[in-house]
Structures are given as structure tokens and as C-alpha cells.
């Protein structure tokens, strides 16, 4: 780590202008983002109630959806579990990523963001840091969803490796998707409007997918959407990994989709954030 941003305390003896930082390197950007992520973790430590949603939602949704749809769709709960657990997992974690946008908006309204803006740090680091520290939220949601499934009799065929890989895939994709909600957070003026708009995006995306119900039972026009919906690909990828331990083309699609979202949304979000100042 460099100390180029520190101005030596020699101005009284030096007649020349003080030395200034010129630019911020990639390694500095990464270090600053990690520091900002650390800040997010400290905030969670002081306000653990912010984790309420990622603890409660998987508990309720897993039980509710499994027992409501289980009999109707798969004949019994046990045979529905391999379908619904990956579906609930994806839905819960993506829902958790909405909160990232809302909290970012609330955070940006506080005075401390003024200081972040006034520091010689990469503009992306306060945003990336906030999004990185929310990976903790996704981790909690993922763990609880799988634990609930196991408790209800889910026996994933992919074994420990399959389940862990599936969990990691969902977390990575949620991080990517959270950039969409971060853009909402930067664009909108109120946390409540971020929440509202994000819900409008989220509901069609998660329900018009194969997360809860096999897509062949839906009308043709909807199947067309369900089959291209990135959430469907992610759900299928998670089922492949967790149920069969199969690392297939769907996993590649999910990762590629995540990469595209970050590549498009991250620069857009940072640019919007800078323009708002």
C-alpha cells in the first residue's frame, strides 16, 4: 500500500506547492473498497437487527411454499423439495439484494458520504464496499434456506460440494444483481421509492420463472419469457449443482449473465453517483 496521498508535514520549510496525488491505482481502489466493506460489517455488528429479514424470510418462505405447493405440484412434499429449495434460495437471496439498494440510499443521505466524496479515494469504493459487505446477508439467507430444507427432509444428491457450489453461485449472482438496485438507490431520492420500484422489477422476475412451478404448465407466451429469464437459468443451475452435483451449461449462463450485469451496471451506477454530486 502506498502513502502517496499523505502530504508530508513540511510546508513551513518548503516554499513550493504541496505535492498532490495524481490518480488512484487499481490496487488502491481494491484496498479502499475492502475498507468500505469493513465499514459495512462494523455497521452490521452495531445494528444486528438489520439482518432480521435474511433470517426470518427463509424460515417462513421455505415452510410456506413447500407445504402450499408441494402436494399440488409434485404429489407430496418430499418430492417437491428438490424443486422448491433451489427456487426459494434464489428468490430469497435476490430479495435480500434489494435491501442493498435501499440501505445505500439511506446511507448516502447521511453526512458521512460527504466525507467519502471529499477524500482522495476511488469513486466506486463506497458503492462497491456497501455491496460487498452485503454478501454476508446473502450468506446467512443461503445457509438458513438450505438448513430449513434439510430439516424438512431435503436430501440434495450433489452432496456437500454440490450444495456449497450452488450457494456460492447464488451469492455471486446476487452481488451482480444488487448493482441494479444500487443504481436505483443512486437514482431515486427516497429509500421508499427505491423499495417500491425494486419490488416491481423483482416480482415478475422471480415468479415468471421456473423457481416454484415447472414452466410447461404455463401458457406459451409466458413460457417464452420464463425460458429466457435469467432467474430461470440461475434456478436450473442451482438445481443441477445441488441435486446432481452437475456443473453444466446453465452454471456458465448464470455466471456470464452476472458478469454482463456488473459490466453494464457498475460503471452506470458510479457515473450516476458522480453526476449527482
Amino acid at each position: 500500500m502506498t502513502t502517496a496521498t499523505l502530504v508530508p508535514d513540511t510546508r513551513s520549510t518548503h516554499p513550493g506547492p504541496p505535492p498532490a496525488a495524481r490518480s488512484i491505482s487499481l490496487s488502491e481502489t481494491v484496498a479502499q473498497s475492502i475498507t468500505m466493506a469493513h465499514r459495512g460489517l462494523i455497521k452490521l455488528k452495531h445494528n444486528p437487527e438489520q439482518l432480521f429479514d435474511v433470517v426470518i424470510q427463509p424460515l417462513i418462505f421455505t415452510v410456506m411454499f413447500t407445504y402450499i405447493f408441494g402436494g399440488a405440484i409434485s404429489g407430496d412434499v418430499k418430492s417437491y423439495l428438490p424443486i422448491i429449495i433451489p427456487g426459494i434460495l434464489v428468490q430469497t437471496v435476490i430479495t435480500a439484494s434489494i435491501v442493498t439498494g435501499t440501505q445505500l440510499r439511506e446511507d448516502m443521505d447521511k453526512g458521512v458520504f460527504d466525507r467519502f466524496k471529499s477524500l482522495p479515494i476511488a469513486r466506486i469504493s463506497p458503492l462497491a464496499g456497501a455491496l460487498l459487505s452485503d454478501m454476508v446477508r446473502y450468506f446467512i439467507a443461503t445457509t438458513i434456506t438450505f438448513a430449513m430444507g434439510l430439516a424438512m427432509g431435503y436430501r440434495p444428491g450433489g452432496g456437500v460440494i454440490g450444495v456449497v457450489t450452488a450457494g456460492l453461485l447464488v451469492m455471486v449472482c446476487a452481488f451482480a444483481i444488487s448493482w441494479i438496485f444500487a443504481l436505483m438507490g443512486v437514482l431515486m431520492n427516497k429509500a421508499s421509492s427505491v423499495q417500491g420500484i425494486s419490488m416491481l422489477i423483482l416480482f415478475p422476475l422471480t415468479f415468471m420463472s421456473n423457481a416454484f412451478v415447472p414452466s410447461h404448465t404455463m401458457p406459451g407466451w409466458m413460457q417464452a419469457f420464463v425460458n429466457v429469464n435469467p432467474v430461470s437459468h440461475l434456478v436450473t443451475a442451482v438445481r443441477d449443482l445441488a441435486n446432481d452435483g452437475h456443473f453444466g451449461i446453465q452454471v456458465v449462463w448464470a455466471l456470464l449473465g452476472a458478469a454482463i450485469i456488473v459490466a453494464v451496471m457498475a460503471p452506470l451506477t458510479v457515473r450516476t453517483y458522480m453526476r449527482k454530486t
Binding site: 500500500m1 502506498t2 502513502t3 502517496a4 496521498t5 499523505l6 502530504v7 508530508p8 508535514d9 510546508r11 513551513s12 516554499p15 513550493g16 506547492p17 504541496p18 498532490a20 496525488a21 495524481r22 490518480s23 488512484i24 488502491e28 484496498a31 479502499q32 475498507t35 468500505m36 469493513h38 465499514r39 462494523i42 455497521k43 452495531h46 445494528n47 447521511k110 453526512g111 458521512v112 458520504f113 460527504d114 466525507r115 467519502f116 466524496k117 471529499s118 477524500l119 482522495p120 479515494i121 469504493s125 454530486t277
Partner: protein, 332 residues
């Protein structure tokens, strides 16, 4: 003095509009290195907006500004590495403790973990925050927040400090502490740009003062020059016996050598006072003549009077000013 050294701040014709309102309307300032420059003006005059533009927090709609020769729009990173900003609204993290705040800011500025820890401890000591170091800021008083905010601005030893209304809303004791701190920083060689609503504060701390109103610099000079342009203190007397007003008037006029105004109905007299320390002698003379005084005030020119004198209108807190300061906050 080396002429090739650029001034700490050189702003020419800065303009910032929020919708239809022009918050800053062609502000030009030159702040020499090593000086304390006061920007004096009422709420909503455009002080905060000017500081935010100079500190790269707002993009100017017109004009140019350089900080130690670096353009605030084209070289924001260079400018940010040279300035510290302490705002009117403390820009520290409410959810974190004082130590955590300083650690995070130190790490962001590139200090190693051990350096950051040492620097944080040092600043907490210096700003008398050691006892509160591990408490969340939610439990901090306004003065403590402000001190922590200032401490956070000093982590990198910035050669230029922006202090935006550093004492607004503080109690007199905390204000005095803040003044001490600012004096010490200046003695250590920092250049300071200070905004304030208080003539007294600018007088106490600043080498040079710009008076700003409705987005424009309307006067610029040393504190003495400014005061001379505003006028002097005023003596007001109210007599117990109203019939002796005329006699008192001639007594005062004779002693002070100035015109004395009378408000006959109320039995009041008003006289300009070049030197307020003559007041006790005046009172003694009045007693020698058996004139009883009901009320006496000696007042310095207030910011209101400064504005009245320079602009021909008062500080106008209520209407346009309040509206503009709202805009500033919502945009911020």
C-alpha cells in the same frame, strides 16, 4: 516570498444554480497560503455552496477555481488529496464509534493498520475524545461530533482546511474550545478557509474577510477595514426623569464631541461611540449632575448592521435565504 508558489485558493467568477435559484453568483476569492480567510454571511448567502465547489463536492456551473494550482473540476483527486473538509453537518458515521470512524478514514487515506491505529489514538487524545472512543456516535453531544469531524479532517495533515460554520449551534464553552483548536492549526502552518455567520468569529480568527450575500462577494478586507466601513458601537440611554433629556443631550454631546439623537416620548438618547471604554466616565458625569439612568446599553455593530450598511438591506433570514439553504441541503 516565492512568487511561483500558487495561492492556496484562487477562484474566479464561480457560479452555481439550483433550478431557478442562483446560489452562488460570480464569487471570486484569493486565499494566500498560510492565512486564515473568513467568509462571512447570513444563512443561505451561498457560503456552503462555495465551499462545496472548492472542495470538489459540487460541480460549478460557471467560473474556475484552483487549489494550490490544481483545477477543482479537472484534477479533483489532486485537490482532494490537499484539503480537509469539516462541514456544518458533521460528516462522520453515526453507526460507528469514534475510534472506528477514525480507523476507517485513516485506512481509506492509505495508512497501514498500525499507523491508522496510532493516528486514531493520537487524534482522540488531541481532541479530548478518549473517554468516548468506544461509544457509538449516537450518544455524542454536538460539540463532540464536531470535534471528531475536525479530527477526521486532519488525518492526512491537509495543507488547506475548509471549516464550514465550525461553531454554529455550539454552546459558548465549546465554541471557545473550537476557536483554540483552529488557532493552533493555523500556528502549525495550515491554511484555513472559514465560513461563519458571526462577525465576532471572523474578527477573532481571520486575517482577511470576504462578506458574501445573495451569492456575491460584497466586501473584502481585513477585520479592521470591514469594521471601519460599518461604523462603531452605539450607546443607548433611557432616563428615569424624561424632562432632563435635553440637558443630558448637551452633556453627552459635549463629552463625546458627537451628535446625540433623542427619542423624546420614550426619554431615550442614542449616541455613536468610537471607544466604548469611556462609558463609565459618562455615567459618573451624569451622576454628578444628578441625572438618574433607567437603562443603558452599549452595542457593537451586529451582522445585521454590517449587512444593512454594506448592502442596504438586512440579513433577510426568513424568505429567500431559508428557501435557498433548503435547496443546498437537498442537493447535498
Amino acid at each position: 516570498m516565492n512568487l511561483s508558489v500558487p495561492p492556496a485558493i484562487e477562484a474566479v467568477g464561480l457560479v452555481k444554480r439550483f433550478g431557478d435559484a442562483t446560489a452562488v453568483d460570480g464569487v471570486s476569492l484569493t486565499v494566500p497560503t498560510g492565512s486564515v480567510y473568513g467568509v462571512l454571511g447570513p444563512n443561505g448567502a451561498g457560503k456552503t455552496t462555495t465551499v462545496r465547489m472548492l472542495a470538489t463536492l459540487l460541480r460549478p456551473d460557471g467560473g474556475q477555481a484552483r487549489v494550490f494550482g490544481h483545477d477543482v473540476v479537472r484534477e479533483p483527486t489532486a485537490v482532494r488529496s490537499l484539503v480537509g473538509v469539516t462541514g456544518q453537518y458533521a460528516s462522520v458515521d453515526e453507526d460507528l464509534t469514534a475510534t472506528e470512524n477514525l480507523m476507517i478514514f485513516s485506512r481509506l487515506l492509505g495508512l497501514s493498520r498500525s499507523d491508522a491505529r496510532r493516528k486514531s489514538a493520537e487524534l482522540l487524545e488531541e481532541f479530548d475524545l478518549v473517554e468516548a472512543a468506544t461509544k457509538p456516535l449516537k450518544n455524542f453531544s454536538g460539540g463532540m461530533r464536531r470535534r471528531l469531524d475536525l479530527a477526521a479532517s486532519l488525518i492526512a495533515h491537509p495543507p488547506l482546511l475548509f471549516l464550514d460554520e465550525p461553531t454554529t449551534g455550539l454552546d459558548p464553552r465549546t465554541r471557545a474550545q473550537m476557536w483554540e483548536t483552529i488557532r493552533r492549526l493555523v500556528a502549525e502552518g495550515s491554511t484555513v478557509l472559514l465560513t461563519t455567520q458571526y462577525l465576532d468569529e471572523a474578527d477573532q480568527l481571520a486575517d482577511r474577510i470576504a462578506v458574501i450575500d445573495r451569492g456575491k462577494v460584497i466586501a473584502d478586507g481585513t477585520a479592521d477595514e470591514l469594521k471601519a466601513s460599518v461604523g462603531m458601537s452605539a450607546l443607548q440611554l433611557k432616563l428615569v426623569d424624561k424632562t432632563r433629556v435635553e440637558q443630558t443631550r448637551s452633556l453627552l454631546a459635549e463629552s463625546l464631541g458627537v451628535e446625540v439623537a433623542i427619542t423624546p416620548e420614550a426619554g431615550r438618547l442614542t449616541a455613536p461611540l468610537t471607544d466604548p471604554s469611556v462609558t463609565p466616565e459618562l455615567l459618573i458625569r451624569l451622576r454628578e449632575h444628578g441625572i438618574a439612568v433607567d437603562e443603558i446599553t452599549v452595542s457593537k455593530p451586529s451582522l445585521d448592521e454590517v449587512f444593512l450598511t454594506i448592502t442596504g438591506h438586512g440579513t433577510d433570514e426568513s424568505d429567500s435565504a431559508a428557501a435557498e439553504s433548503d435547496t443546498e441541503r437537498s442537493v447535498a
